[in-house]
C-alpha cells in the first residue's frame, strides 16, 4: 500500500502539465483614440501558439494584424482580456523575441554585418560576451548571412542592397540572437512576386533549421499556407479570429505545391472565411 505524503502530492501538483502555449491571447480587446473617436482595433480576439509552431494570421487591410503584433510583443497593453507569453503577461521587452517589419529599417550608417549584429549589442547574455568573443560572434553572423546568400554583401551599406536583400538582412537580424519567438509583420509585402517566393523558401529553411515559434502576419494567402502549421483568418475591424485551419502539408514545401488542388482548396476555404468575416 502506497501512502502519498503531503509533500508527494504537492510535488505532483507542481509538475502537472502547464499550458503548453508559447503565446496566448484570451478575449483581447484593444481600444484606441479618445472620446468620440474611440474605436476598437480588435475585439474578442483569442489565439494560442504552441512552442515551435509556425502560425500565420491573415486578414483584410486594417483588421488589426499589426495591432496583434504589438500586443504580443508587449508594446501595447490590451484594454480587456489577457496576452501571455510563456505564461506571463506580455510586457516589452519580451524575453527572446525577434521582430521583422515590412520596412527593413536597417540603419544606413552601419554595414550589413554591423546591422545584423545590432541585437547582440543589446540583448543579454550576448551583450556582455560580445567584447570578449567578438570574432566568434562575427563568424556566426557571417554564417547566418551565408545561409541567406548575403555573405558577399556583409561589408556593404543598406542602400547598396536591393529590397529583397534588405529583407533577408532584416530576417537575419531578427534571428541573430536566437530568439524563441519570431514575429513577422508583412515582411515580404513590399517585394515583387519573384523575390517574395524566393524569400518564402529562405524563411522555411531558417525555420526548419532552428524551429523557433513564429507568428507571420500577412495578407497573402499563398504565403500563409506555404509557411504555416496553422493559419488564423481574421475578420475586418474590430478584428477577431473567424477560422483557425491546420495545414498538414508535408515539409519542406515547394513552390510547385502551391499550385496543387489541395493547396488551392485550402486557399479557397480561407478566403471564404475571410469574406464572411468581412460581411459580418
Amino acid at each position: 500500500m502506497v501512502v502519498a505524503s503531503a509533500m508527494d502530492r504537492a510535488r505532483a501538483a507542481s509538475v502537472a502539465p502547464k499550458d503548453h502555449s508559447h503565446v496566448e491571447l484570451k478575449d483581447v480587446r484593444l481600444d484606441y483614440g479618445d472620446g468620440e473617436r474611440r474605436t476598437k482595433a480588435v475585439d474578442r480576439l483569442s489565439l494560442a501558439l504552441g512552442r515551435g509552431e509556425f502560425a500565420a494570421v491573415v486578414g483584410p487591410s486594417g483588421c488589426g494584424k499589426s495591432t496583434l503584433m504589438k500586443l504580443v510583443t508587449g508594446l501595447l497593453r490590451p484594454t480587456e482580456g489577457s496576452v501571455c507569453v510563456d505564461g506571463a503577461p506580455a510586457r516589452a521587452p519580451i524575453k527572446s523575441v525577434g521582430l521583422a517589419f515590412q520596412n527593413a529599417t536597417l540603419m544606413p550608417w552601419r554595414t550589413t554585418l554591423a546591422n545584423v549584429m545590432l541585437p547582440l549589442e543589446i540583448v543579454e547574455p550576448h551583450k556582455t560576451k560580445l567584447r570578449r568573443e567578438r570574432d566568434a560572434y562575427e563568424n556566426r553572423v557571417r554564417g547566418l548571412l551565408r545561409s541567406v546568400g548575403l555573405d558577399e554583401f556583409a561589408g556593404r551599406y543598406p542602400w547598396e542592397l536591393s529590397g529583397g536583400m534588405q529583407q533577408r538582412a532584416n530576417l537575419c537580424r531578427a534571428l541573430v540572437h536566437e530568439p524563441q519567438l519570431l514575429m513577422l509583420d508583412e515582411p515580404f509585402a513590399a517585394l515583387d512576386a519573384f523575390t517574395r517566393e524566393d524569400l518564402w523558401s529562405v524563411m522555411q529553411g531558417l525555420w526548419l533549421g532552428r524551429r523557433f515559434s513564429a507568428i507571420l502576419v500577412t495578407h497573402e494567402l499563398r504565403e500563409a499556407v506555404f509557411l504555416a502549421d496553422y493559419v488564423h483568418a481574421m475578420s475586418s475591424r474590430p478584428g477577431r479570429i473567424v477560422m483557425s485551419r491546420r495545414i498538414e502539408l508535408p515539409r519542406p514545401r515547394t513552390l510547385a505545391m502551391t499550385f496543387e488542388p489541395i493547396f488551392v482548396d485550402l486557399i479557397h476555404e480561407l478566403r471564404d472565411a475571410i469574406s464572411r468575416g468581412q460581411a459580418a
Binding site: 508587449g74 521587452p93 517589419f101 540603419m107 550608417w109 545590432l118 541585437p119 542602400w159
Partner: protein, 244 residues
C-alpha cells in the same frame, strides 16, 4: 568647377569697374583690393587671426552646448515643450542689441566677441539636433524597445547617428552666423579684429581696405567650412547614399 565660377566672377567685376569707371570709394576693383591686401598685409593678418580665434572659440562653445541642449530637447518631449519656446524668444532678440550689454558686463575686447559668436550660432545647432532626434523613425524605436534597449541605448545607437546629417547641416549655417556675430561685436565694442579694422578703414574712406577685410573674412569662413565638410565626410558620409 568652383574655381571657374570664382574666377569668372572676379573677372566680370574687374571688367565692370574699368568699363563703367566706377569710383574707388564706391566699389573698388579686384585689382585695387589686391593691392590693399598686399600693402596692409600685416595688420590684416593680425586682425584676421584675432577674429578667427574669437569666432572659433565662440563656435566651439556653440557646437558643444548646442549638441547638449539639442540632445536634451530631442530626448525628452517634456523638456522640448518647456524649453523650446523660451529658446525661440531668446533667439529673436537682435544680437546687435546685445553687444553693448556684453561690453558693459565684460568690458571691451575678447569676451563680447566670443559671446556674440556663441549666442548667434547656437540656435540652429540646437534646433537641428533636436529635430534629428525627435523624428527618429517609430519602427526603429519599436525594434530597439522590443529588444529591451533602454532610452540611453536607443539614443546612442539610433538617435545620435541618425541626427548627424542634420547636425552637420546646421554647422554650415551656424559657422557663417558665428562670423557675423563676432564681426558685429567688433564693430560695436572691440579694439581688435577684422570688424574693427573695417570700421576704421571705412571711417577714412579707404574702401579697398574695407573690401580687403571682407575678402579676409570670406577666406577664413571657407577654411572653417572645409574643416566641417571633412569631418562630415568621416562621420555622416552614409547620408549621401553615393556609391564609391
Amino acid at each position: 568647377m568652383p574655381w571657374l565660377v570664382a574666377i569668372s566672377f572676379v573677372a566680370i567685376w574687374e571688367g565692370a569697374c574699368r568699363l563703367f569707371g566706377i569710383p574707388e570709394f564706391i566699389l573698388p576693383a579686384p585689382s585695387s583690393i589686391a593691392a590693399a591686401l598686399v600693402a596692409f598685409r600685416d595688420p590684416i593678418f593680425e586682425n584676421a587671426l584675432w577674429t578667427l580665434a574669437t569666432t572659433a572659440v565662440g563656435f566651439g562653445f556653440a557646437v558643444a552646448i548646442g549638441l547638449l541642449v539639442g540632445l536634451a530637447l530631442g530626448a525628452s518631449a517634456l523638456v522640448y515643450k518647456g524649453v523650446y519656446p523660451v529658446l525661440v524668444a531668446f533667439n529673436s532678440v537682435p544680437k546687435v542689441a546685445l553687444v553693448p550689454v556684453f561690453a558693459l558686463w565684460f568690458g571691451i575686447g575678447t569676451v563680447p566677441a566670443v559671446l556674440t559668436a556663441f549666442v548667434i550660432s547656437v540656435f540652429p545647432i540646437v534646433v537641428n539636433v533636436a529635430t534629428g532626434l525627435a523624428t527618429l523613425e517609430p519602427e526603429m524605436r519599436d525594434l530597439m524597445l522590443s529588444l529591451g534597449a533602454g532610452r540611453l541605448a536607443i539614443l546612442a545607437k539610433a538617435g545620435i547617428p541618425r541626427s548627424m546629417p542634420y547636425f552637420f547641416a546646421s554647422l554650415k549655417v551656424a559657422l557663417t552666423l558665428a562670423f557675423t556675430g563676432s564681426v558685429i561685436a567688433e564693430t560695436v565694442g572691440a579694439n581688435h579684429g577684422i570688424g574693427y579694422l573695417m570700421l576704421a578703414a571705412s571711417a577714412r574712406f579707404q574702401v579697398p581696405l574695407v573690401f580687403a577685410g571682407i575678402a579676409a573674412i570670406a577666406t577664413m569662413a571657407v577654411i572653417m567650412y572645409l574643416v566641417c565638410a571633412l569631418l562630415e565626410r568621416r562621420v555622416a558620409h552614409w547620408a549621401y547614399r553615393s556609391n564609391g
